[in-house]
Amino acid sequence: MLTIWAILIDGLIYASWLFLVAAGLTVIYGVMRILNMAHGSLYALGAYASASSIGWYYASGGDQLWIAFALLASCAIVIGAIAGFIMERGILRLMYGRDEVLMLIVTFALLLILEDLMKLAWGTTPYFAYQPYAALGRFNFGVLSVSGYQIMVVGVSVVVGAILWFWLERTRTGKILRSIIHDREVSEAMGVNVRRMFTMTFVIGASLGAIAGGVTAPIISVVPGIGVEVIVVAFAVVVTGGLGSITGAAIGALIVGLARAASIHTMPQLELFIIYAVMASVLIFRPNGLFGQATARKI
């Protein structure tokens, strides 16, 4: 019984983290049909920005927790937005209209470049900004404990998901975005400025990736290479849930999170492949992912 509770709690926590990471990726793919491999680098950028700003704050004598959190969020969002803007305007824009595959490789090249740029900027020493994580303590349930910070992360991802959903479903911009997701050419024919929407979408997706990194930074030790580790997991969640669907990303994250928690608690040998096994299984029964839309084929 204890194990089942542990699986549920751990699964939920991991799923919320997965959702934060995958949300930006799925939004960008849905609107722009770009599978952004550099999403991992944006995640890492957010993590580095948060970790170094928190580290600087505490080293210069600050001790107000809320300021640390404000720094965490703002630095991540700002750096994500700026990086996303530069990437989209500077490089991706040159590639529109070309093969989807080439886009993927361009983002792969950007990943390589960003990895080394981050290494040059922040060095290789691990950044260890644990103060916000430690400060939120833990809640004990018998033998189990849950860290307060992780609960906060769950909250953040729920809020982010809600905002995204609301924005896409209820606002005008959101509806325009959904129309672009559905059919880009027709939207353009109806007068939508698709280019501007693309830039906006990419910036938002990049910021989401950076926020995910920023929020994760106090838990982990930020080192070169964390971006690369995250990409494959994010891809798996996005593909499982259906590309372009926020609901899909959420459900996909939940499934993967719970499956992983279950395997760690009961069958640790499977841990390494459980994510891929889940993805492969979903794709066998629903070839476009859980909530993916089968695209009409042009004959």
Partner: protein, 441 residues
């Protein structure tokens, strides 16, 4: 729909000419080979992680230590018995290569170092996979090579009759046998032991050796769980929950670098380390970084007498001062181990009896079965036919206070003969048979 980016005719010609020139010059550069080392310098290739997750805790500190030591060697400012300028009178020049990319790539880079860059010796290798792949190539190319950090116990058993390949560091067996001894001496009443290792060869080997050793030394131990998260996973929430449900008294971990720091912090905040004491076999690399995130009493090791475990002698005092002056932090164990490898090189060159640049054969025969002084005390190349170092294993308890900083207490040392199997014995069998011929006094 966007302007065309097809290059115009003149651009095309320019590009094709440029590309052809580039390819041709690459080929010519290849044939010419880079400037070969002059006769009055000794060129050493250094291979260590400059990118990826292992660069922060290990690769870059090792490269920095190399900088410090090589500079001192060339200036002749090392303490006795290394106070001569250069090695055997030759100035030491270094070429640094990134160890990233996997064993196949490292084999290629090793060959490039030796055949294209014409280095006279190679020092490096943190990753066990790289050591295993490169060692046969070192023998094939007959190049004096020292592995300074890789921890696989399989290195010399797999390398038939080595002549040129040496290791001045200790392996995972020594780490974990030492840990078991330390627990037996300092925590004789514990019964429930859990582990968390990174899921790859190092983690698997470490847990295996630790389990076998504990079964010998503390037979009543119950192994309640072993978590094997992915390397570089970073966030161990679920693993910590699983460990908590099994209520261990000791948590053994061979995790290193960022993963280790993250795990310790998370486990501390979650309360796992209130219930259990962590035993970190590579913990010394976090000695100056844990601050108050590792609880008092955490047991840490430094893979031998390195880093904070260095004994007090002229060399270690000089090294600590010089390293901290140049790089701002005290040296951790990877830095000390790199210093040791360079001292081994200097020892081998100075005592080779060669006029001018010693050959690989002269260096190898001098270092084989040698005894030399190092930052870690006296090193005896006494195992694997004289190619593997034999040194004591040390563990201690970590304490921290904001006023006095980190310190080690309750340090115990176990002789090399206690923690490493003698030649001819397979490590696992040696442990399972109760450590025959071990000398623990």
């Amino acid at each position: 729909m966007g302007h065309s980016l097809q290059p115009k005719p003149w651009q095309r010609t320019l590009l094709s000419t440029a590309t052809s020139l580039a390819i041709a010059s690459a080929g010519i550069m290849g044939f010419a080979g880079s400037a070969s080392a002059q006769e009055d310098t000794f060129k050493v290739g250094l291979v260590t992680f400059l990118s990826g997750g292992a660069s922060g805790p290990f690769g870059v500190p090792a490269a920095q230590a190399a900088e410090t030591v090589i500079k001192a060697i060339n200036e002749g400012t090392l303490p006795k018995p290394y106070n001569t300028k250069g090695i055997n009178g030759l100035q030491l020049e270094s070429v640094v290569i990134d160890e990233a990319g996997g064993p196949t790539k490292q084999v290629e880079e090793y060959r490039n170092l030796v055949q294209r860059q014409n280095v006279d010796a190679v020092i490096g290798y943190i990753s066990s996979g790289d050591c295993l792949a490169v060692s046969p190539v070192a023998e094939e190319l007959k190049t004096f090579t020292i592995a300074f950090d890789c921890g696989t116990p399989r290195l010399f058993p797999e390398l038939e009759s080595p002549k040129y390949f040496f290791r001045t560091g200790l392996d995972a067996t020594a780490d974990n046998v030492g840990a078991a001894h330390y627990l037996k001496e300092t925590r004789p009443d514990i019964t429930r032991v859990a582990g968390i290792q990174q899921n790859y060869a190092w983690g698997q080997d470490s847990w295996n050796d630790f389990q076998l050793s504990m079964k010998q030394l503390m037979p009543g131990t119950e192994f309640v769980d072993n978590q094997t998260p992915q390397i570089f996973q970073g966030s161990y929430g679920t693993e910590i929950s699983a460990l908590q449900t099994s209520r261990p008294e000791i948590v053994h971990s061979s995790m290193w670098g960022g993963d280790m720091e993250a795990f310790v912090t998370q486990a501390n905040v979650r309360g796992l380390l209130d219930q259990a004491t962590a035993v970190l076999t590579t913990g010394e690399s976090g000695f100056n970084r844990f601050k108050d995130q590792a609880p008092d009493g955490t047991i840490i090791g430094g893979r031998g007498p390195f880093g904070a475990f260095m004994p007090e002698n002229d060399l270690s005092e000089w090294f600590s001062k010089a390293y901290e002056a140049q790089h701002g932090v005290p040296p951790s164990y990877p830095s000390s181990k790199m210093a040791q490898a360079l001292l081994a090189l200097k020892y081998a060159a100075d005592n080779s009896g060669a006029e001018g640049k010693p050959s690989d054969e002269q260096l190898a025969s001098t270092l084989k079965s040698a005894t030399f002084e190092s930052v870690s005390g006296t090193v005896r190349m006494a195992l694997s036919g004289g190619h593997q170092a034999l040194q004591p294993m040390l563990y201690g308890e970590y304490y921290y206070s904001p006023e006095t900083g980190p310190e080690l207490r309750n340090i115990r040392s176990y002789t090399g003969a206690c923690v490493s199997p003698p030649d001819g014995h397979d490590a696992q069998e040696w442990i399972e048979n109760g450590f025959p011929e071990a000398n623990c006094n």
